[in-house]
C-alpha cells in the first residue's frame, strides 16, 4: 500500500462528496445549502489541485485540468454568495441561491470526471 496514493485518492473523493453534499437539496432554498460545506469543499478542492501538480502523464494533466475547473466553479459560487450578502441590498434570495447551487453543480460534474479518471487509472494498473 502506498501512503501517497491513499492521500491522493482521499482528497479527490472528499472533494466530490463535500461538493455533492452542498449541491443536494432544493435549488432555490438557502436552508438546504450549508455555507460551511461550501467552504470545506473549496479548501479540499484547492488541496486536491496542489496534489496534482507536476504529474507529467497524460492522465495527470487531465486530472489537473478537471480540478482547476472545479476550483473555478466553486470560487465563482462563493464570490456570488459574498456579493449577494455584503454588496447588494437584497441579501441572499432564492434566485441568487439558485445560481450559487448551479455553479457548484458544475463543480460536481468536474469532480465526477476526476473520480472516473482516478478509477480508470487504478483499473489500468496491473500487478
Amino acid at each position: 500500500m502506498n501512503r501517497e496514493k491513499v492521500i491522493f485518492a482521499f482528497f479527490i473523493v472528499l472533494a466530490l462528496t463535500l461538493n455533492f453534499g452542498f449541491f443536494i437539496g432544493d435549488t432555490a432554498n438557502p436552508d438546504h445549502h450549508n455555507i460551511y460545506e461550501l467552504y470545506a469543499a473549496i479548501v479540499v478542492s484547492l488541496i486536491a489541485t496542489v496534489l496534482k501538480f507536476g504529474d507529467r502523464t497524460h492522465i495527470g494533466a487531465v486530472l489537473l485540468a478537471t480540478s482547476l475547473v472545479a476550483d473555478l466553479q466553486l470560487v465563482a459560487a462563493s464570490i456570488v454568495w459574498g456579493i449577494a450578502e455584503h454588496v447588494t441590498v437584497g441579501g441572499m434570495t432564492g434566485p441568487v441561491m439558485a445560481s450559487v447551487v448551479s455553479l457548484s453543480a458544475g463543480a460536481v460534474l468536474a469532480n465526477i470526471t476526476s473520480v472516473i479518471l482516478l478509477m480508470v487509472e487504478t483499473i489500468l494498473i496491473r500487478r
Binding site: 455555507i35 460551511y36 467552504y39 496542489v50 501538480f53 507536476g54 450578502e85
Partner: protein, 567 residues
C-alpha cells in the same frame, strides 16, 4: 519543453498545501468564535470578513480589528494565527528561493532560455560544437564578419567564458554533450537559418557523432569537421562530410610549405590569415638538416609532410618506441644542451620546437640559439594567452595550430573557390609564380587585411551583369575593377581565378569576356568588395561604369531621353 512552471509547482507542493491548510483553519476559527458588535450584541464573523481579516493579517499588513473591536477570545485566536500564517509564508518563500538556486533547476532554466534564443535567431548562423581554442577563434572571426553562431560545449566553464569574451553580439551557448542528437536539434540544426555545422571538439568520436547526426537530420547543411586520426578522416569522408580538417596534418603541411616554398606560403598566409606577415619574412636558407623536438601526432604529420623534400631530419623525443625505421633519433626532451648537442644542433640549419608544452618549447628555442645563433627556429604555440611571450622570444616563425585551423575554416566559409585556388597554387605552380603573386597582393593591400570574395554570374548574385549579357553586351573582367565613384580610379582588388564549367584558370587576364555561369574569385580590400557589389547588382551603376548613358536612370528618365532624341 515548457514545463518549467510545473517543475516549480511540483517542488512547491508541500508549502502550498501548508499555506492552504493554515489559511483554512484560521478562517474557520474566526467564523466559529463569537464576537460582539458596537452595540454589545452577539455577532459572528462571516466567511467574507474572516477571509479579509486573515488575508491582511497573514501578509502582515494589519489594518486592525475590523469591522468591530475583537473580544479576548478572538484576540487569542488572532495571536495563534499570526504566527501560523507568517511561518507558513516564510516556509513557502524560502522553499521557492531554494528551488531557484537549485543547480538542476538553474540548468533547466538555462537550457530553456538557450532554446528560446536559438528560436529567435532570424539570421544565418553556424552551429559550432566545441568552444576551445579553435572554436573560440572561429566564432570571433565569424563575429567580425557579422555572422552569428550558436555554441555547444561540454564544459560549463567555456560557456561562462563566452559571456565575458569580447564578441560584438550575443551568441547563445549551451553546456551539453553535442554528441546527442536532441542537443543538436535544440541548438537549431534543423532551423532554416542554420548555414553550416562545425564539429570542432578535441574528441574524434564526438565530432564523428555530430557529423553523422547532422548529415542524417539535415543533409543540406555543409559540415566542416575537425579530426585527429586517419581512420576518422576516412570514416567522415565515407558519408559525405563536406570538409575535413586534421589540425596536425594541416599544420605540418603549412610548415612544410613555409620552409620549402616560402612565397607560396606567404600567398597562402595572406589569403587565409587576416593578420598576414610582411613580405620580407620569406625564408631562403632552408636546405640542410632539421631538428624536430617532439614526435607526437604533430611530429608524425610533419615527418610525412617533409618526406620527399631535400631535407634531413633528426628527431628528439622522450619515447623511443614511437619512432619507426631508420630515422636519426635522440632520446630526451630537448630542453637541455646535452640532448641538443647529441642531435648535432651546431650543424643543423633549423629547429622545430613542436611539443605540446609552451614553456618547454620556449626553453628549447633559447637553449638551441645559445648553441647555434644562426639557427632558424620554428616554435609551436599551444595557448593563445602566451602570445606576448612568444612575440618576445625572437623566433623566426610562431605556429599556432588553433589559429591556422581557424583561418583554414574561415577561408572555407568565405568562399569555396578559395580552397580550389590554394590547392591549384600549392600543387601546380612554382615559387617564382607565387613571388609575383605576393608582390601584386602587397601592392594592392599593403599592411591591411587582404580579403577575398567570389561572384557567380547568374540572376540572383549579379543581376546587372546578367541583364547586360541578355541585352547582348559582352562585359569583360576589368569592368569589375573600375571604381563607380570615379571611373579613372581602380579598385584595390584583382581577379585570382576564373572557374568556367569546372575548368580553373588562375590570374585571368583583365580583358577576358564573361559568360553566364562563370565564377570569379577576387582578392583585395574589403572596401573594394562593397564597391564591386554595386557594379554587379545595380544596373544604373553598371551602365555608368560601362559608359552607357541610355541605360541610366529610372523608367521616366529613359522615356524622356527617348522622346528628346526623336524630336
Amino acid at each position: 519543453m515548457n514545463h518549467i512552471l510545473f517543475v516549480l509547482l511540483r517542488r512547491l507542493r508541500a508549502p502550498l498545501i501548508t499555506v492552504i491548510v493554515v489559511y483554512a483553519i484560521s478562517i474557520l476559527g474566526f467564523v466559529l468564535i463569537p464576537g460582539v458588535d458596537d452595540q454589545g450584541k452577539l455577532w459572528r464573523m462571516d466567511f467574507f470578513h474572516a477571509f479579509y481579516f486573515v488575508s491582511f493579517m497573514g501578509s502582515t499588513i494589519g489594518f486592525g480589528e475590523i469591522p468591530y473591536a475583537f473580544t479576548d477570545a478572538q484576540r487569542m485566536w488572532t495571536l495563534v494565527t499570526i504566527y501560523a500564517t507568517v511561518v507558513s509564508w516564510l516556509y513557502g518563500i524560502g522553499k521557492m528561493l531554494a528551488t531557484f538556486q537549485d543547480q538542476a533547476f538553474i540548468r533547466l532554466m538555462k537550457r530553456l532560455s538557450f532554446v528560446r534564443d536559438v528560436k529567435r535567431l532570424r539570421e544565418p548562423f553556424y552551429l559550432v560544437c566545441g568552444y576551445g581554442m579553435t572554436g573560440s577563434r572561429v566564432v570571433e572571426q565569424l563575429n567580425k564578419r557579422g555572422i552569428s553562431a550558436v555554441i555547444i560545449d561540454i564544459d560549463q566553464g567555456r560557456i561562462d567564458a563566452l559571456e565575458t569574451d569580447d564578441l560584438d553580439f550575443n551568441v547563445p551557448g549551451l553546456s551539453a554533450d553535442a554528441a546527442e542528437p536532441d542537443v543538436l536539434s535544440e541548438a537549431g540544426l534543423e532551423s532554416p537559418y542554420c548555414v553550416g555545422v562545425l564539429p570542432l571538439t578535441d574528441r574524434d568520436s564526438v565530432n564523428l557523432a555530430i557529423a553523422i547526426a547532422s548529415k542524417l537530420l539535415a543533409p543540406d547543411r555543409p559540415v566542416i569537421c575537425r579530426t585527429e586520426s586517419e581512420i576518422t578522416t576516412a570514416n567522415l569522408a565515407s558519408f559525405g562530410t563536406d570538409h575535413i580538417i586534421d589540425p596536425f596534418v594541416t599544420f605540418a603541411e603549412y610548415l612544410a610549405l613555409a620552409l620549402h616554398a616560402p612565397y607560396k606560403h606567404l600567398a597562402y598566409d595572406w589569403l587565409t590569415n587576416p593578420e598576414h606577415r610582411s613580405i620580407t619574412s620569406a625564408y631562403q636558407e632552408t636546405r640542410g638538416r632539421w631538428v624536430i623536438c617532439g614526435y607526437g601526432r604533430f611530429g608524425r604529420a610533419l615527418y610525412q609532410a617533409f618526406k620527399g623534400m631535400p631535407v634531413e631530419l633528426t628527431i628528439i623525443d622522450m619515447e623511443p618506441m614511437s619512432v619507426a625505421g631508420d630515422i636519426d633519433f635522440v632520446e630526451g626532451l630537448g630542453t637541455e644542451a646535452v640532448t641538443l648537442e647529441q642531435a648535432r644542433i651546431k650543424g643543423a640549419v633549423g629547429l622545430i620546437a613542436g611539443t605540446d608544452d609552451d614553456a618547454n618549447n620556449l626553453s628549447i628555442i633559447m637553449t638551441a640559439l645559445e648553441l647555434n645563433p644562426k639557427l632558424m627556429t620554428v616554435v609551436r604555440q599551444n595557448r593563445s594567452t602566451n602570445a606576448r611571450v612568444f612575440a618576445a622570444a625572437n623566433t623566426d616563425l610562431v605556429m599556432e595550430p588553433s589559429r591556422i585551423i581557424a583561418n583554414n575554416i574561415m577561408s572555407l566559409i568565405k568562399t569555396s573557390l578559395l580552397g580550389d585556388f590554394l590547392d591549384e597554387m600549392v600543387h601546380c605552380k612554382d615559387d617564382v609564380w607565387a613571388h609575383t603573386l605576393v608582390n601584386r597582393m602587397s601592392s594592392v593591400a599593403g599592411d591591411q587585411e587582404l580579403d577575398s570574395w567570389a561572384f557567380t554570374l547568374n540572376k540572383s548574385e549579379t543581376p546587372a551583369l546578367d541583364r547586360a549579357i541578355e541585352e547582348g553586351k559582352a562585359p569583360t573582367l576589368n569592368l569589375f575593377l573600375k571604381d563607380p565613384r570615379g571611373l579613372d580610379r581602380q579598385l584595390s582588388a584583382f581577379p585570382l581565378m576564373l572557374k568556367r564549367q569546372g575548368k580553373i584558370k588562375l590570374l585571368p587576364g583583365e580583358l577576358t569576356e564573361l559568360l553566364p555561369g562563370d565564377s570569379i574569385l577576387f582578392c583585395g580590400l574589403t572596401e573594394a568588395q562593397y564597391q564591386m557589389q554595386w557594379t554587379v547588382a545595380n544596373f544604373n551603376v553598371f551602365s555608368h561604369v560601362i559608359g552607357d548613358p541610355d541605360g541610366q536612370g529610372g523608367w521616366l528618365a529613359r522615356w524622356y531621353r527617348q522622346r528628346k532624341k526623336h524630336s
